[in-house]
């Protein structure tokens, strides 16, 4: 899929949401070091914050088991002529306006890069460096869904979604430097309805990612061990096995 097409899909979604008078905030990001910013009390540095945020220290949980969530990172190659700006879009309330310590959350990151190899594509889509790079912030890797904890201590230091967007941009720049042209981050907070709408609206983008990794998924099918060498007709556990295989297939499809 081309950059222009993705932008069109995202812009259309944004227009639709604005028409419906949802709370939308857009920030254009100038790159300045964090120690000079208004969030200088919260550390942002690669591999510097690997501490586990324990349940008892958690101030806010984004996504998780019983919440609606998604995370999508889409790296795409762009030409020199494409106008690229770092941008953060937040749809929904900011952290201090949330009504609960657990909230629905969606995160979409569009990365434009100069050159895109398979290896770079994988590295760009790996979240762990973000988790290890922000003080009091820990992401748990769940395919396609999202789950993270923000410590109460960091919330007290004015951790906000706007800060999170800035921190993600800073960490991508720290790790990948000049390979990245621009970063656009879209967050949907609180509303499960809006998250589902977004997923519906951007199905074309998700399908694109699905197709890209279909070969990987197919290879995965060959990796189920079986004591009966797949002689299912003699296996006494056929019924439960078949049922679990279906779950396994679903799980594989999620891992995009």
């Amino acid at each position: 899929m081309r950059y222009k097409k993705i932008k069109e899909i995202l812009d259309n979604f944004l227009k639709r949401v604005q028409l419906e008078k949802e709370n939308v905030n857009v920030y254009f990001i100038k790159e300045s070091p964090f120690y000079k910013s208004k969030w200088k009390k919260i550390g942002v540095y690669l591999d510097n914050y690997k501490d586990i945020v324990l349940k008892s220290d958690t101030g806010l949980e984004l996504g998780g088991m019983n919440k609606t969530s998604f995370s999508l990172i889409y790296p795409i190659k762009t030409t020199k002529n494409t106008i690229n700006t770092n941008k953060i879009i937040i749809i929904g309330p900011e952290i201090n306006d949330l009504n609960s310590s657990k909230t629905n959350f969606g995160l979409f990151i569009l990365l434009t890069v100069k050159n895109l190899s398979d290896k770079l594509f994988e590295s760009l889509r790996n979240f762990s460096f973000i988790s290890n790079g922000i003080d009091g912030f820990a992401i748990r890797s769940i395919p396609r869904r999202f789950w993270c904890r923000i410590s109460q201590n960091s919330i007290n230091k004015k951790f906000s979604f706007q800060f999170l967007g800035n921190a993600i941009i800073s960490l991508y720049k720290q790790k990948f430097g000049k390979e990245i042209n621009s970063i656009e981050i879209l967050m949907i907070t609180e509303s499960s309805k809006l998250i589902n709408k977004f997923l519906e609206h951007t199905a074309e983008i998700t399908n694109e990612l699905n197709n890209r990794w279909k070969v990987k998924v197919d290879n995965w099918k060959k990796r189920i061990d079986c004591d009966y060498e797949w002689a299912c007709e003699i296996c006494p556990y056929f019924k439960s096995c078949k049922s679990l295989q279906e779950i396994l297939e679903e799980r594989k499809n999620l891992e995009i």
């Binding site: 088991m65 061990d225 679903e250 799980r251």
Partner: protein, 253 residues
């Protein structure tokens, strides 16, 4: 991410060595560490590191099987929740996280369930720098149930010839069942003259990573049932463990 499996004959001190390695890794280094208590018959690691999980991998496995048979939820929902369920089975403290395999209570072949869980463990492991597994004697579970690829295998032996022979068998099994990239031997509970043993080790073609002396403090902790993770830093066994950890970390992926 580096996966380290600690194996050896029963009674050689696998769990104690795993605990000491965990202590060094968590106190001297800045690594995100996941411990896996993979000994279903003697799940003592959690007690030794003072972090006892509420749920085991076995509990999660049974839950998934039950849900899939009842078909109450949509398949995609069950599949999505497997990762969350497994994460909820991980117990955490500020130093490390721990997942316990648990003791299988039901018989039968649930290969797809195992396969599914192995896949999820592999996925979750990406969140950690080091995964340290305290295994049961034998390597089959590493290959079939827990994790397919192990980077480093540490074989623990005491100063008996039988224990060393087991180490040799494990080495041969590891070649067949795992894709390990580095393997070493740790001699535990060492006392007196062990020259005969060292000659034997030379013939095994297995690098000796270190010798842990018999440690009165460990014996005392064992006797009183105290968590070994709290062993004083000046204990005799910690210095050789620190050197072993340096060697293991020097091994590059």
């Amino acid at each position: 991410m580096k996966t380290i499996a600690v194996v050896g004959k029963g009674g050689t001190g696998k769990t104690a060595i795993t605990t000491l390695i965990a202590k060094v890794l968590s106190e001297d280094y800045n690594y995100k560490l996941l411990l896996i208590d993979a000994d279903p018959t003697h799940p003592h690691l959690s007690h030794m590191v003072e972090l006892v999980p509420q749920k085991s991998l076995e509990d999660v496995r049974l839950e998934i099987i039950k849900e899939s048979m009842k078909k109450k939820n949509k398949l995609v929902k069950i599949a999505e929740n497997v990762d969350f369920k497994l994460y909820n089975a991980i117990e955490e403290n500020k130093k490390f996280s721990l997942l316990s395999i648990g003791n299988p209570e039901t018989a039968g072949c649930f290969c797809p369930a195992n396969s599914l869980l192995r896949k999820v463990i592999e996925s979750i492991s990406k969140d950690f720098d080091i995964v340290l597994i305290d295994c049961e004697a034998g390597l089959e579970q590493i290959n079939r149930r827990v994790i397919r690829s192990v980077d480093v295998i540490l074989i623990i032996s005491d100063i008996s010839i039988r224990s060393l022979e087991t180490a040799h068998s494990i080495k041969e099994m590891a070649k067949k069942f795992t894709n390990y990239r580095y393997m070493g031997l740790i001699l535990n509970k060492v006392r007196g003259n062990i020259d005969i043993l060292l000659k034997r080790i030379n013939k095994l073609n297995l690098p000796l990573l270190g010798e842990i002396p018999e440690d009165e403090t460990i014996l005392d902790f064992d006797l009183k049932g105290k968590p070994l993770i709290n062993i004083p830093t000046n204990s005799n066994s910690l210095s050789p463990i620190q050197k072993i950890v340096v060697k293991v970390l020097e091994f590059k992926d």
